[in-house]
């Protein structure tokens, strides 16, 4: 084959491949979604200077308050737990379509909270407001955007097992009748409403838009009888003081007590608003050059503000975020956000949020889903304790302190009976070879491979396979979101395992001379058997680097006697037939460590074996 023929074949292949690819109809929505977020940012940044004028206009009309009062009730940080009760932070996130309970320490999804009717009819917009219920219940309030620009508030109670046990649905900031007569307001469309829990957890609040005129706004407080979930509405008529900007306020936080509330809101375009009783106060929180994205109250009553500042490029990509404690005082303190949170500069700070519960503070960053966790009894003590990757697509989240009683308090989700053939999720691919023995591969020696009741991690674990274990395939398989799963028989137990950790073994070869050749004719040496094993694996097939996603996994703990021995799996070869090697490495102890004696390699096959060769 000459160069010209090769080039022609490459061109033809790429054109044929490309021709098979058809964009999905949803692509424009994804583009539009991203564009909308960037546009929001431009509005925020572009109106910062204008906001100062707005604030100056209304400050003379408002009523200036003293510093925020310390909440007298804080059910978010309940009394010390009874013996046997663990109080832990939990985070509820949304990607706009579903709600997830997430472990803030690991980012692991504990539960997808059950869907409710609103999900089918609309999407979650704005914040997620979370508070603890009684015991280890969880109560979540969200705003649902419905077709026709109507909004509703959903308040859901989830039991300890996170089953939906109660639900309240009330007309939101704009009801269906409201919007029909009102013109589209693109600002409100881009900055959806938010809700806030009162500090004692009995009420929620949001900004309601008047039925007749979207420019006329009143703050409505919805009170919630906790025992019976029976709502009563307590509209709080508010004199807007002639400032039309109130149309674009977002509820951010509720401080004070239910009887003497303070509502903290931010105005789109900058400027913050406090309402106490029926009086407004406007302020800019001293955030010169920055925009307050969200606020929260620490348990001590100190205000925490998440502030975005435009960078050199005046765009979302170059913006930076700051967390500022007590911004209205002379002693305001900036809590540094660790460097490197946005290494590729793709964050959209306008989507940031801050939540506080007990001594925990959580800061989220846009749909990158990074969670920055801080903890401290006082604001002075607040320290960053780590960053956690939230599920991809996370747009907003709420945090609460919940009881976790006994062990486990959150039961394993999923069915407890063997699923029938009809109930099995996913598609059958026919890739599992019935009766064939599959080795467990690529699982570290201090780990195990779960075998579950059905094909997927949501099913209960029925047994475990050791890293060098094996099992017989029944021939059933299913392709689900988490991969291709095989049904296996393990010591009389039938269950499912992810086939990414399974392979059939082909021939075994002595690779000693090849390894020595690859090491410039020298027998490899190392100070430990573990190091020697990885060094030999590197000679067989290099790991690391973007160009070779090969992994080296030590699957038996190194042993040392007359000879040292260790087994290393080399998996992930870019080949659809050969998965990799299982290397059994022997070495002679020396004064300095170990010198390779011999290495045997067994070929691991992805699809099957015939005559000792991978299919």
């Amino acid at each position: 084959m000459n160069d010209r023929e090769l080039e022609d074949r490459i061109r033809a292949s790429l054109q044929a491949r490309a021709g098979d690819v058809q964009p999905t109809p949803a692509l424009w929505e994804r583009v539009s979604d991203r564009v909308t977020r960037r546009r929001r940012w431009q509005v925020l940044v572009g109106t910062l200077s204008g906001a100062a004028a707005v604030v100056a206009l209304v400050v003379g009309i408002g009523f200036v308050l003293s510093q925020p009062t310390v909440p007298t009730i804080d059910p978010f940080d309940p009394a010390p737990p009874a013996p046997g009760v663990t109080v832990a932070s939990t985070v509820v996130t949304t990607d706009g379509e579903s709600l997830f309970e997430v472990d803030p320490a690991t980012g692991e999804v504990l539960h997808e909270l059950p869907a409710f009717e609103g999900f089918a009819e609309g999407v979650i917009v704005g914040d997620v407001a979370v508070r603890p219920g009684s015991g280890d219940e969880l109560v979540v309030a969200v705003v649902i955007g419905l077709e026709g620009q109507a909004w509703e508030i959903e308040v859901m109670t989830f039991a300890a097992d996170r089953a939906l046990v109660d639900r309240l649905r009330v007309p939101g900031p704009r009801g269906p009748d409201t919007y029909a007569a009102a013109p589209m307001d693109p600002m409100i469309d881009a900055f959806p409403p938010t809700v806030a829990w009162s500090p004692d957890g009995t009420s929620i609040a949001w900004v309601r838009i008047n039925d007749e005129d979207v420019q006329d706004v009143r703050l409505t407080v919805l009170t919630l009888d906790w025992a019976g979930l029976s709502p009563g509405e307590l509209p709080t008529p508010v004199d807007r003081g002639g400032a039309d900007s109130t149309a674009h306020m977002r509820m951010q936080a509720w401080a004070g007590t239910t009887d003497a509330p303070q509502f903290w809101m931010t105005m789109v375009g900058g400027g913050e608003v406090v309402l106490e009783g029926s009086s407004w106060r406007y302020d800019a929180l001293g955030m010169e050059g920055g925009t307050v994205i969200d606020v929260a109250f620490h348990r001590t009553g100190t205000l925490l503000a998440l502030v975005a500042r435009p960078g050199d490029g005046q765009d979302a990509e170059s913006a930076t975020l700051e967390l500022i404690a007590d911004p209205m005082s002379d002693t305001q303190r900036t809590i540094p956000v660790p460097d490197g949170l946005f290494p590729d500069g793709t964050a959209s700070p306008v989507d940031g949020w801050i939540e506080a519960a007990g001594d925990h503070v959580a800061v989220g960053f846009g749909d990158r889903g990074v969670l920055l966790a801080l903890v401290g009894d006082t604001v002075e003590d607040l320290e960053v304790i780590g960053t956690v990757e939230l599920p991809a697509g996370t747009r907003a989240a709420g945090i609460a302190r919940v009881d976790r009683t006994g062990s486990p308090t959150i039961p394993q989700p999923g069915p407890t009976d063997d699923p029938t053939e009809e109930d099995l999720p996913g598609d059958e691919l026919g890739m599992a070879n019935p009766g064939a023995t599959y080795l467990v591969v690529g699982v570290a020696f201090d780990d195990t491979l779960n075998v579950r009741r059905g094909p997927g991690p949501e099913f209960e674990v029925v047994t475990e396979l050791q890293p060098t274990g094996a099992a017989t395939a029944t021939g059933r398989d299913r392709l689900v979101d988490s991969g291709l799963w095989f049904e296996l028989e393990v010591d009389g137990v039938t269950g499912w395992a992810n086939s990414v950790f399974l392979a059939q073994d082909a021939s075994t070869q002595d690779l000693t001379s090849s390894v020595i050749d690859a090491n410039d004719g020298q027998r490899p040496t190392a100070s430990t058997m573990e190091e020697l094993g990885l060094a030999v694996a590197e000679l067989v097939e290099p790991a690391g680097g973007e160009e070779a996603p090969v992994q080296h996994v030590i699957v038996t703990p190194p042993t040392v006697g007359d000879l040292g021995e260790v087994t290393v799996d080399v998996v992930g070869l870019p080949d659809d037939s050969v998965l990799g090697w299982r290397l059994v490495i022997f070495a002679t102890p020396t004064d300095d460590g170990f010198t390779l004696s011999s290495v045997e390699g067994t070929v691991l096959c992805r699809r099957g074996v015939s005559d000792g060769l991978c299919l």
């Binding site: 090769l6 490459i10 021709g19 779960n450």
Partner: protein, 183 residues
């Protein structure tokens, strides 16, 4: 600027979005195909294009984009590159966890491949594959490829040379030597 003026400004940007939809319609299909050739994953390809399109929009609505197709191509290549890097890091991280809930590697495993040329292209290291795709799918010169990838012309030249040599080896015997050698 009053808030009313802000609303008007925002409404204007809505009109721009309608106009941007035309730009999208003209360019998105080719962009998705390029992204697919660079990532081998349809879902990832759309994600890459969505992000790239949004970056284009930022510059486009400021009137800073003369050639949308070229700008978009560059944004797609950059995005695809960072996705590949991230995917690799995710794989490494996944290997350290207990996990029957993984599935990243399966995306590759599931690629049922009948086209031996495409199969060989997928075996190329990322950089070699990028230059091959840009050269033979986008018909870019070495200089243009270097600009799109943000690397020197020398890097493009050497990557292309190694990539073509590898493809020649793989396709001369249709991969038989490759598999037979290991088994």
């Amino acid at each position: 600027m009053t808030m009313g003026a802000q609303v008007l400004a925002f409404a204007r940007s809505r009109e721009e979005e309608d106009s941007f939809a035309e730009v999208f319609n003209e360019h998105h299909r080719r962009a998705v195909r390029l992204a697919y050739l660079l990532t081998s994953d349809h879902h990832q390809a759309e994600d890459v294009v969505a992000e790239a399109m949004a970056k284009v929009w930022v510059q486009w609505q400021r009137g800073r984009v003369d050639d949308v197709g070229a700008y978009l191509r560059r944004a797609v290549a950059n995005q695809a590159n960072s996705r590949l890097r991230r995917r690799y890091l995710e794989r490494r991280e996944a290997s350290r966890r207990t996990g029957d809930d993984r599935g990243v590697r399966m995306v590759d495993d599931q690629t049922v491949e009948h086209d031996v040329v495409w199969q060989a292209i997928q075996q190329l290291p990322d950089r070699q594959r990028q230059v091959v795709v840009l050269r033979y799918y986008e018909d870019l010169s070495e200089a243009d490829t270097a600009e799109v990838l943000g690397v020197s012309a020398g890097t493009v030249k050497s990557s292309m040379s190694r990539g073509m040599a590898r493809l020649h080896d793989l396709l001369s015997d249709e991969g038989a030597a490759h598999q037979g050698g290991e088994a």
